[in-house]
């Protein structure tokens, strides 16, 4: 729950008493670029379903005054739920604005003015920025901002956030009006200005008045605790007028009239001339048509996968080389000097040397590269088009098309892909999506499959191993779709127009996500490596091997140490083969190769089981953080069951068990 539930916090104005301007607009209207232009900085905040939305407040200076500019998530109406659990109006009242700056699409006013009219109905000063004026002009649309200002009873500006045109003027007007309202509230100014022309029918006006009186009286008659009505609270706290609160309560009845009014206002202020269809619009149309949309989507997916793999691979190798040349020798010298017990020192080295290197060589190259790519695809508007095109294909797995990107991204690393499932709307979709993500072999597991199978059983066998894993993933998706209650959600989605990505915005988005990945994954990687180091250096793995040996032999037809290696690969998947070789060398008393240890058929089973079984510890932590303990445990147990079941079946088919 956000602070808006409590009347005293609803009026939680900044202590400095500066006027507050709220930035409101529909999604895809370029609001974040507008804000960046107004305040000189890009920002990215996570707004996932089921989380509390944090509001970004920026201090701006305009027309000789300081003020706060509060960014709000893109919304389609005041009672829409654009992010988190709360309707938009609660977020807006929480910000306690003194004026509202509505960012609208100059080329599509009929669809953007209803929100501006709803804001005007709140009784707060409203400034309209007819943004994307450049795009509108390319489509042959000019806006008569003078006439629009008359209709709206507030200043209107043609703006272009990307170029900065008109932004200062719009923000300046909003700050000035906000300061005036603040002055009136504090008694240093007398109210002035005219009421806007009425647009509602007599019956609606009467209902507004009746509801306003009711909301205003509620606190007086019942007291704050008994009123238990956030709208009445906001009125009592002076955040909005009684009529403003009533216009929120009656949104359902008023919205159709707002849309009708917006349509006629738009016709009144738009000056149209013929213009050829811009290339961006044609490309947008193609992106959702089966031809050439599907080939383009496949091309983009393969290119994305390959570039993450290639760029990530090069960066990972470079970082690993630099690490072992500079950091490893230093750590190897320092740690034993600080920790006098040799076994403990070696275990700690596993953590700080191996663990940090693992973090560095997976995190920076693969995760950051993927986040940058994802941000480019998102910011260009292509992602939603591709998602819609693939919607039905993913529908058989119980997922909307939006899931395509995280599922593909999982082939690089599961961890960012699980955070990537935030693009899914319902919990059901997020659980299924995360489940499939954990089944997709990440780059570390792919490397294990290739290295274990290809040299001993040939490349075709390695491909077959991937085929088995993919078949299991698809079967698991079909199963999860059938077993997890609920159905695919209906889709009503406005598609973002295609635009050149804004570098600052892309960088801010990728950086924000990368930072949260590093913060969450680093401690887990360190702890996992430490545990692995202790078990290895203390020789405990041998006891474990003799305990589980018979079961592993019977079910999977594998040697006991292979079972231990699969188990401990939970801590570091990319070490699944090195661990196996190390265990074998200790057991046999001499160095050995994989081919000597297991038959090609056994290696095949080992690779498939390692790839499917329990996600690595960093993935598990991501699952826990995103979905909670129960879902994370359920997903982990399901993957383990699938791995053992598939392994046992393969072992029997291949005649090794």
């Amino acid at each position: 729950m956000t602070a808006a539930c409590h009347p005293d916090e609803a009026a939680d104005r900044p202590v400095d008493g500066l006027p507050v301007v709220a930035l409101v607009g529909r999604p895809n209207v370029g609001k974040s670029t507008f804000l960046a232009r107004a305040s000189g900085r890009f920002v990215e905040t996570a707004n996932a379903p089921g989380t509390t939305v944090s509001l970004e407040r920026r201090r701006v200076h305009a027309r000789g005054r300081d003020a706060w500019l509060v960014d709000l998530p893109g919304t389609r109406s005041l009672d829409d739920v654009p992010a988190g659990d709360d309707p938009f109006w609660r977020l807006l009242l929480e910000a306690a604005p003194d004026a509202i700056l509505v960012v609208a699409d100059a080329g599509d006013l009929a669809r953007h003015l209803p929100l501006a009219i709803a804001c005007r109905d709140l009784g707060l000063p409203v400034v309209l920025a007819a943004n994307l004026a450049d795009e509108a002009a390319r489509r042959g649309i000019e806006v008569d901002t003078g006439r629009l200002a008359q209709l709206l009873n507030g200043p209107a500006h043609a703006t272009c956030g990307r170029a900065g045109q008109g932004v200062d003027a719009a923000v300046g007007d909003a700050v000035e009006l906000a300061a005036q309202r603040r002055g009136v509230l504090e008694g240093t100014r007398s109210p002035r200005g005219s009421a806007p022309a009425p647009i509602y029918a007599f019956a609606d006006e009467m209902e507004l008045r009746r509801t306003a009186t009711e909301l205003t009286a509620k606190h007086r008659s019942l007291g704050a605790a008994a009123a238990a009505d956030p709208l009445a609270d906001a009125v009592a706290a002076g955040v909005i007028s009684g009529r403003g609160a009533a216009s929120i309560r009656l949104a359902h009845a008023l919205d159709p009239k707002r849309w009708a009014t917006a349509t006629s206002w738009a016709a009144d202020v738009e000056r149209r001339r013929d213009a050829p269809e811009p290339l961006a619009d044609r490309a947008a149309r193609w992106s959702t048509s089966p031809w050439p949309g599907i080939p383009v989507f496949l091309g983009v997916s393969v290119a994305a996968f390959l570039s993450v793999l290639l760029v990530g691979g090069v960066l990972a190798a470079a970082l690993a080389a630099a690490w072992s040349a500079v950091v490893s020798p230093a750590l190897a010298a320092v740690v034993p000097a600080v920790i006098p017990v040799p076994v403990a020192a070696r275990a700690v080295l596993w953590a700080v040397d191996g663990g940090l290197l693992g973090m560095l060589s997976v995190g920076v190259p693969y995760v950051l590269t993927f986040y940058l790519l994802l941000a480019v695809l998102e910011d260009s508007g292509y992602l939603t088009s591709a998602a819609v095109l693939m919607d039905r294909l993913f529908g058989v797995l119980g997922l909307p098309g939006r899931a395509a990107i995280p599922v593909l991204a999982a082939a690089g690393c599961n961890v960012p892909a699980i955070y990537g499932t935030r693009v899914l709307r319902t919990r059901r979709e997020r659980v299924i999506g995360s489940f499939l993500v954990t089944l997709v072999p990440c780059s570390a597991r792919s490397a294990v499959v290739i290295a274990a199978v290809a040299p001993f059983a040939g490349p075709a066998a390695a491909l077959a191993a991937f085929g088995v894993v993919m078949g299991v993933t698809i079967a698991a998706g079909l199963g999860a779709n059938a077993l997890i209650p609920g159905r695919q959600s209906s889709l009503v989605l406005e598609l973002a127009p295609l635009r050149a990505p804004v570098p600052g915005h892309v960088a801010a988005k990728a950086w924000w996500r990368f930072r949260s990945f590093v913060v969450q994954a680093t401690p887990i990687m360190l702890a996992g490596s430490l545990v692995l180091g202790v078990v290895y250096e203390a020789g405990w793995w041998q006891a474990i091997a003799s305990a589980i040996g018979p079961a592993v032999q019977w079910s999977l037809g594998l040697p006991a140490i292979a079972g231990v290696a699969v188990g401990f690969a939970f801590l570091r998947k990319e070490l699944a083969l090195q661990l196996l070789i190390a265990f074998a060398a200790i057991q046999l008393g001499r160095a050995t190769g994989l081919g000597e240890l297991m038959t090609p058929a056994q290696l095949f089973v080992y690779a498939v089981v390692t790839s499917i079984s329990i996600p690595c510890i960093a993935t598990l932590a991501a699952l826990r953080g995103e979905l909670g303990n129960r879902a994370a445990a359920g997903i982990a147990a399901s993957t383990l069951g699938l791995a053992l079941g598939t392994g046992a079946l393969l072992a029997r088919l291949l005649g090794i068990a």
Binding site: R76, S77, D80, D105, G107, D108, A110, R111, P114, R139, H252, D255, P256, W259, A260, D281, A284, R285, T288, S289, P290, G293, I294, T384, V388, L389, M390, D391, R392, L393, G395, G401, Q488, S490, L491, V492, L493, E494, L495, P497
Partner: protein, 83 residues
């Protein structure tokens, strides 16, 4: 518009051919609130821009915006060809 024509005879956004235009006459109340947020309400004029494979979402154009509607939602929007 011919009001006497039974509602079930009128085309929906799910049945209209690609490139076809519709003036919305009625919207299934189950989806009305969600559709109104995109401006899809009685009186609005929309064009079917494309369809996606396997009965996936229909892309409609209103003004300059493209809106994707899953099949169940597209069926909920009925109308007449504009005069």
């Amino acid at each position: 518009m011919s009001p006497e024509r039974p509602a079930s005879d009128r085309p929906t956004l799910a049945t209209l051919h690609v490139g076809g235009t519709l003036r919305v006459s009625d919207v299934d109340p189950a989806h009305a609130e969600e559709l109104l947020r995109e401006g899809l309400r009685p009186g609005a004029v929309v064009r079917v821009a494309s369809r996606t494979p396997l009965g996936g979402p229909v892309i409609v154009v209103m003004g300059r915006s493209r809106i994707a509607l899953s099949a169940d939602v597209a069926t909920a929007v009925r109308g007449e060809p504009p005069a």
